[in-house]
């Protein structure tokens, strides 16, 4: 069951690990032990885009972030992502993103980046797995200051859960999760794209410097939040498709058992709760705003 969801996910993961290498259909089909024809057909069916275009769009999106975040020469970036020349890279970049790489590098503005797809999501597919707690790592708790910042993203005060949030966004507003994520990821932010909760609703966006102007579509909310102390419950990197439920449960358990009063703090709701979620690289963290309890002696 869901064999091809898994196989296509494997292809996606292989592509992701080889964005700066030559990823060919032959290599992918060899890994999967299926014919090239079958692999490419299944990929198109599950991802909704041809394998060739998927690889190219992912490479172009990675190249965009490389332009934004490094000072590497453009010709080196072009070669790194498999273009035959700087001109070929510039021409493709301009046609796909509507702005030349030169202009984007000088003044990075939101681009519709093409983000990694996920075809094997156990939660969405209704797959229940036995959680192997033996491999669980420890949830670490620490207190940090999150400075004054601007939140740019979507807010829906009518829902409080991630999947309900996206169901409404996609059905009511026609906003696709991948498209929104692509735009948000193209903006350099403190912690990448985050989820979270604010005033009872669900939020999805990025944290950026409070005094910077970003020209994004009107449906993105822009809110400046003041500096605040946060308690961070952090679980280290894990395999998303395998351990997401386990991590969610462990974080939830830790949050419930951790009492801020014991440490001289209390939760507050002037700032949002952030959920940082980059399973393979950072792990997952729930960041809850706290403040010191006034008049507490010795505390």
């Amino acid at each position: 069951m869901f064999k091809w969801n898994k196989c296509v996910q494997k292809m996606i993961d292989l592509i992701e690990d080889n964005l700066t290498n030559d990823v060919t259909l032959e290599k992918l089909s060899k890994e999967l032990h299926y014919s090239s024809y079958y692999c490419t057909r299944q990929f198109h069916q599950y991802v909704g885009i041809s394998l060739r275009n998927y690889i190219r769009l992912r490479k172009l999106s990675a190249a965009a972030l490389c332009l934004r975040d490094t000072t590497h020469r453009m010709i080196d970036i072009a070669f790194k992502y498999g273009f035959s020349s700087q001109e070929a890279f510039s021409r493709s970049f301009t046609k796909v993103f509507g702005i030349s790489p030169n202009k984007y590098r000088k003044m990075p503005h939101p681009l519709p980046l093409f983000v990694k797809r996920n075809t094997y999501n156990p939660y969405l597919l209704g797959i229940k797995r036995d959680i192997d707690k033996n491999f669980a790592k420890e949830v670490k708790v620490n207190i940090q200051v999150i400075p004054k910042h601007q939140f740019i993203g979507l807010i829906d005060y009518n829902v409080s859960k991630y999947y309900d949030f996206w169901e409404r966004q996609e059905k009511i507003y026609g906003r696709d999760c991948y498209k929104v994520s692509g735009i948000l990821e193209s903006i350099k932010s403190y912690n990448g794209v985050v989820g979270g909760w604010y005033k009872g609703g669900y939020i999805y966006g990025i944290e950026v410097p409070w005094d910077k102007q970003f020209h994004v579509a009107d449906y993105f909310e822009k809110i400046v939040f003041p500096e605040s102390l946060y308690v961070i419950f952090h679980y280290p990197p894990y395999e998303y498709n395998k351990d997401e439920s386990l991590v969610f449960n462990l974080l939830d358990k830790k949050i419930k058992s951790w009492s801020p009063i014991d440490y001289g703090y209390q939760y507050h709701d002037l700032n949002p709760i952030y959920q940082r979620h980059q399973p393979e690289t950072y792990g997952q963290a729930i960041c809850k705003p706290i403040k010191m309890i006034k008049n507490k002696k010795n505390g």
């Binding site: 190219r56 509507g98 519709p112």
Partner: protein
């Protein structure tokens, strides 16, 4: 503006130096690379007829860049007409895209060049037909968005590209992708039938490039011409 050429290994380099600073953005837009105080572009020196193309470039480059920067008048209608007359009856599949495709419908977009899409099977024929005005060789660029690319200059710049890739239609179809090619509409231009993409696709590409003035002009035109 000085135009010189240099051979380096397998390449021939088109070099532009001593140019007015106003040309810098234009040269960048044309994918020339900065090298010291010059802008350069490399081609394989074994490209057929490269000597003729070099001469054409030498004779027309400054005028072409001047037009591209909107420093002089751009007779794009004459250029398009010249192209149409030359390909007429030659069994070449071609269509017009970019701002000229809107202009011939009556939308005043102020184009700085003419964008022509062709099938790669006709590239050889085009190379022969337009050799006298080819300023950048029409060759396979190993590009991800189109196969061949080349530039003519006949009163105005004419960009020619072949076989648009379906990547151009992700996530939304634009005016030069395979979707456009499959939905061409005929518009009359000076007595000739010219195939152009649907206006909504021109609108998409201008939205994507945040060319808001053009977006407004196209939207106004669509609204005015909407059937009651």
């Amino acid at each position: 503006m000085n135009i010189t050429f240099q051979e380096r290994g397998c390449d021939i380099i088109f070099i532009i130096s001593n140019y007015d600073i106003k040309y810098e953005p234009v040269l960048k837009m044309c994918y020339f690379e900065k090298e010291g105080n010059s802008f350069i572009k490399k081609y394989n020196k074994n490209i057929r007829n490269i000597q003729i193309i070099k001469n054409n470039f030498l004779n027309h480059a400054e005028e072409m860049f001047s037009q591209l920067g909107y420093f002089t008048n751009i007779p794009w209608e004459d250029a398009l007409l010249e192209f149409i007359k030359r390909v007429e009856g030659k069994n070449i599949n071609w269509w017009l895209t970019g701002s000229c495709a809107c202009c011939i419908r009556g939308i005043k977009l102020n184009p700085h060049d003419v964008d022509i899409m062709v099938d790669s099977k006709d590239v050889e024929k085009l190379n022969e037909l337009f050799l006298d005005c080819m300023v950048e060789p029409l060759v396979d660029t190993n590009g991800w968005v189109t196969k061949d690319f080349g530039v003519l200059f006949k009163q105005a710049r004419i960009d020619i590209a072949s076989d648009p890739s379906s990547i151009l239609d992700e996530p939304t179809p634009i005016d030069c992708g395979p979707y456009a090619r499959a939905h061409l509409e005929a518009v009359m231009f000076k007595g000739y039938k010219v195939l152009v993409p649907p206006l909504t696709l021109s609108l998409n590409v201008n939205k994507k490039r945040k060319r808001l003035e053009r977006v407004k002009l196209i939207e106004d035109f669509i609204n005015k011409n909407r059937p009651l």
